[in-house]
Each structure stands twice: as C-alpha cells, then as structure tokens.
C-alpha cells in the first residue's frame, strides 16, 4: 500500500478497519527516511523505540483503547526537548545534550498515542530562513534538491513533503513554520501566542516563539492543534483560553469577509506567486466570500522591528550556554572567563553569533532607547494595524513568501537579503496572531507556492475554515505529493 499519499485522517480509517497496522506504517516511514538520507531532514531517528511504541499502540487499537492520534507518526523539530533523547537545537554546543525532562506538547501528543519517529533538522536555535545554518548539514527541498526547504523548521517541512512521517512539529518565531511549509508544499500552522505551551521549547525569542504543526492536510493540522493547545502551569505565558475542537470545520465561506492588505503586494513578489494568490482570491470570491482591501500601513517596518526584538531576546536567552551546566565546554581554558568565551565561540555557529552580537548591541547602554525601546513602540503600531483591519474582516489573506524556494548558497553571503525574505511572516509574531500557510499552486518550475491566512488572536477556527475550503476547492492541489 502506498502510504505516501495519505494524511492521518485517511490513515486512521485504515488503522481502525485493521487494513494496516501501526507497525507497518512506522516501518514504511523508517524505510523512506533511510532511502532519503541525502535530504538531511532528520538529525536523530528512533527506529527501535518507534517500532516498540507502534507494537503497543497496535495492541491498544485491537483492544479499542487507543488514543485520538494512534499511529500518527510524528517528526519532532530538534528544538523541542525529549526526555532521554538527544536534543541538539541544530547546534554543536548541544551535540551531546540528553534532556532529563520533556516538552509539554510532547507529553500531550504521546498521551494520545502519537509515535515519535525522530528529531528533525533545523537552523541552529531556529535562527535562519533556509536551513543552511545547521551544524548537522543543510536540509534539501524534496521538490528540488538543489534548493532550500526554507527555515528554520526546514527538516520538519521536508520530512512531511517527502512522506518521511505523517506530520511534524515545528516552531515559529518569525515565520519558521509557515515559510518552510510554503517552500515544501505542505500545511504549516503557527498558533496564537500563548495557545500552545512553550515549556520544553529551547527559547530563541520568548515573546515571539510558538510551537505548531506541519502536516499533509488542513484537517491534520487542526487535529494536532486540538491536542497541543491549552494552558500549562509550566509556561506562565500560556493562555487560559478554552481549546476549541479545531477539527470541526464548517465547509462554507459564503458571506465571510477576507482582507487583502495592499502593502503585501510589493515589487519583489514573483509573478507566479502573485497569480497563484490572485487565483485563490478569485476562488473565494466565486464562493461567496466578500473580498475587501485593507491596509496594514506599518508593514514596511516589520523586518527591522523583528530583527531588533528577536536578536535582543536571543542574546539574553543564549547567555545560558556557558559550558557549565550542559553542552560543549572548551577543556583547555585556564580560567573561568576564558572557558565561557572559548566554549561559546567554538560551540555556536556564525549566524547565531551574529544575532547574539546584534542583540547585545541593541540592548547595550546608550543604544537601548534608540533601538530596542523604539522597536517595541513600533511593535505596538504593527499590532494596532491588525486590530484596525480585523474590525471589518474575518481573516486576512497574503502570500506566505515573496518567492518560491531559492537555491542553496544563494543568500548565505548576505544576511540582510536573507532577513528580508521573512517580510510577510514576521508581523504575525510581533502581533501574536495565528497564521496558516497552505499550498495554493506551483510556479513554472514546479515549485510549491503558499498562501497565508491570518486570524484574530485565538481564532484559529476561522483560518482553518478558510484553509480547509481552499484545500478542498483548489483544483491544482490534487496530486501535490512529491515522489522521492
């Protein structure tokens, strides 16, 4: 049986009907991972552990006691700590780190009988838009292995697109779930800030970070979110907002208002991306949705604001890596100060060091007000833009990225150009809003194009409803699987 083309919702009916077992499903993915090692999608694979879990869950299925995610084989971004399993964050500094505790989301998904097959590759500590900043080799895009999968959750996106697992977890600080989902032609959901507990996610920028699913279908993303979401006393920023049953999606978009922000249709937008977005807008219009032009006037300031805030928070968060309690230590240092400096200098990669340096600068005495405080004020303006727009529309539709997947090494030499590729995704993190990227077409070279839907805070249901509708009614989405 060809499992590649199946999302979890289809796989589950086969498992319940006993036409296939969790062990067969797990073996299928393990073989796929083995055949596709050149993608570098995984940093660690837990073959034995995953098969053992699959056996247990097959037994539970036979007994009728299996959880709601039984047999869903999940790749886990290696920024989420898993108990007794190496967690590297894509960094040399954590090459041998074995966490003694586990992320809350993993506990929640494990309780529903999801199977963890391995830890996926990423840009070091989530810092990157191409997955080229990993100490464990760059990930390649399954649609074209000369191109990047996007970042930083590039391993997760490539693993789902290449059918190396049923779905995967990613993290999103400035677009790190949505942009790789767009580049790899899968669904990627960044929940509202506070919707999912961040406990056990190694922090990059704490006021922006969120964990979310990457999946083969909107229904799978919705199902995963349902079990990931909720208040957690171990994360004081997780929200006490009730969790909806996201998997129940109303089919129609008739009468709903979709905002199109004119500031997102900029000169750098590739023509093929533009026309795929236009087609999606037309589809919604033909289906009875009302299309309204909206304005998000501070969009052009989002990248600068983001890179000030994110690097400032990163410089503080990454101060914990000092070679004392965990991680790499330079053994040759003759005193404590030298040990700190050498361990950090040899343990971190170039982009991480660049961001720590930038963050240290914008927080340093004399520059705090000019950069950091200024950026936090502009963040207020960006947030207000969205509040204003959501007074008249139910959801906002934009491209996820101005381009399709670019080539490996194309942008590494120029950090600023790389940063600018996040232009459509960072605003949501600054405002704390939920966003989903789903495939809406392909360019002339056959590379996937993603459309992004933005919702009000804690209104994931609305964007899932639109995403579900687009997925179901967009004719070019049929046959979107990659064969690798």
């Amino acid at each position: 049986m060809n499992i590649s083309s199946l999302d979890y919702s289809s796989l589950r009916s086969l498992l319940i009907a006993k036409e296939i077992s969790c062990q067969e499903v797990t073996r299928f993915y393990l073989d796929k991972i083995e055949q596709n090692r050149q993608l570098n999608a995984f940093i660690s694979v837990f073959a034995d552990k995953a098969l053992e879990r699959a056996r247990e869950i097959d037994y539970k299925l036979a007994q009728g006691t299996a959880g709601s995610l039984a047999g869903l084989v999940l790749g886990i971004k290696d920024l989420l700590v898993m108990q007794n399993a190496r967690t590297t964050c894509g960094s040399k500094i954590l090459e041998n780190f074995i966490p003694p505790f586990q992320a809350t989301v993993l506990n929640k998904l494990q309780a529903e009988d999801a199977i963890f097959i391995g830890k996926t590759n990423l840009d070091e500590f989530g810092m990157g838009s191409s997955n080229e900043n990993s100490y464990y080799k760059p990930v390649k895009n399954p649609h074209d292995t000369t191109r990047v999968p996007g970042g930083s959750s590039g391993g997760s996106a490539a693993a789902v697109a290449g059918s190396l697992c049923t779905a995967a977890l990613g993290t999103d600080t400035g677009g790190s779930i949505r942009q790789p989902a767009s580049f790899c032609g899968v669904v990627g959901l960044k929940p509202t800030y506070g919707r999912v507990s961040r406990f056990g996610m190694v922090a990059y920028a704490s006021s922006l970070d969120q964990i979310g699913p990457l999946a083969k279908s909107v229904a799978d993303a919705a199902l995963l979110l349902r079990f990931m979401a909720g208040f957690d006393e171990l994360d004081s920023t997780s929200a006490s907002v009730p969790v909806a049953d996201y998997s129940v999606m109303n089919g129609s978009v008739k009468g709903l208002r979709v905002g199109i922000p004119k500031e997102y249709f900029i000169s750098g937008l590739e023509p093929d991306v533009n026309s795929a977005i236009e087609n999606t807008i037309q589809l919604l219009k033909d289906s009875g949705a009302e299309i309204c032009e909206v304005s998000l006037p501070h969009t052009e300031y989002a990248i600068a604001t983001y890179y000030i805030i994110a690097t400032a928070e990163a410089s503080a968060n990454l101060a914990r890596f000092d070679g004392v309690r965990y991680g790499y230590r330079d053994e040759h240092a003759s005193n404590l100060e030298e040990m700190y400096i050498n361990s950090r200098t040899n343990g971190f990669g170039e982009e991480v060091k660049r961001r720590i340096m930038l963050g240290t600068y914008v927080l340093s005495s004399g520059y705090y007000d000019a950069y950091y405080r200024k950026a936090q004020k502009v963040r207020t303006l960006i947030k207000k833009d969205f509040e204003e727009a959501f007074k008249t529309v139910h959801c906002i539709l934009t491209p996820t990225s101005p381009t399709t997947a670019f080539r490996l090494n194309e942008k590494v030499a120029d950090p600023l150009t790389m940063y600018l590729s996040d232009v459509f995704t960072v605003s949501l993190n600054l405002a704390g809003l939920p966003g989903i990227s789903l495939p809406c077409g392909k360019d002339k070279q056959g590379l996937p194009i993603g459309v992004q839907l933005i919702g009000k805070a804690f209104d994931e249901q609305m964007i899932l409803r639109f995403a579900g509708f687009i997925e179901k009614n967009n004719p070019i989405l049929n046959n979107r699987q990659v064969s690798v």
């Binding site: 074995i98 003694p100 800030y193 506070g194 006021s207 004081s236 920023t237 929200a239 006490s240 501070h298 052009e300 300031y301 990248i303 600068a304 604001t305 890179y307 000030i308 410089s315 000092d322 070679g323 004392v324 309690r325 965990y326 991680g327 790499y328 230590r329 053994e331 240092a333 003759s334 005193n335 404590l336 100060e337 030298e338 040990m339 400096i341 950090r344 200098t345 971190f348 060091k353 660049r354 720590i356 340096m357 240290t360 600068y361 914008v362 340093s364 000019a370 950069y371 200024k374 950026a375 936090q376 004020k377 502009v378 963040r379 207020t380 303006l381 600023l416 405002a431 704390g432 805070a457």
Partner: protein, 95 residues
C-alpha cells in the same frame, strides 16, 4: 549611527565571544548595513506610543507555593561537562 571596529570588539566582550580580526572586520561591515536598515524606524514618530513588550496582557499568573519533586541532583548534573561531589565544577576563578 555608525559602528566601528572598536564597538564590535566591545560588544564581543559583553557577549563573551571572541573573533579573529578578519571576522571582526566582516561583522563591522554587516552590522553597519543591518543597523542602517534598522534606522528606518526613525521615520516614525513614536513619541506618544506605548511599547509592547508582550502581546498577551494577562498579568503575572501566580500559583500556590507548594513543594514539588522535580529533577534529582543526579539528573541535574547528568549533562554537566564536569561535576564533583554533587556540584558543577569549573576552572579556578581566583589564582
């Protein structure tokens, strides 16, 4: 605002990182390019705008101060590059 090589050296000292002269020069150039881009924010008048440090305005959630079991000392020390007598061990600080 323009960043000099001396500024970059000072930031490296604060961040506890060290770089070769060549790396410092590259960084200085990149910093100036990136910071110049960030100065775009000065186009905006934010005199009367409150900063948003956090998007959720939920206040400080408090819980009861109840003793709980967390990591054992052995677990807490298991990842330490060097541990001795139940403590993290580091190179000498005072000669």
């Amino acid at each position: 605002m323009s960043v000099t090589l001396a500024d970059v050296e000072n930031i490296a000292r604060l961040a506890k990182l060290s770089f070769s002269k060549e790396e410092m020069i590259t960084f200085t150039g990149q910093f100036n390019q990136i910071l110049q881009y960030m100065e775009k924010l000065n186009e905006l008048d934010t005199e009367n705008v409150e900063p948003t440090f956090h998007v959720l305005d939920s206040g400080n959630p408090l819980r009861d101060d109840v003793q709980q079991t967390w990591l054992t000392p052995e677990q807490a020390l298991a990842n330490a590059p060097k541990a001795k007598n139940g403590f993290f061990s580091v190179p000498k600080m005072i000669g």
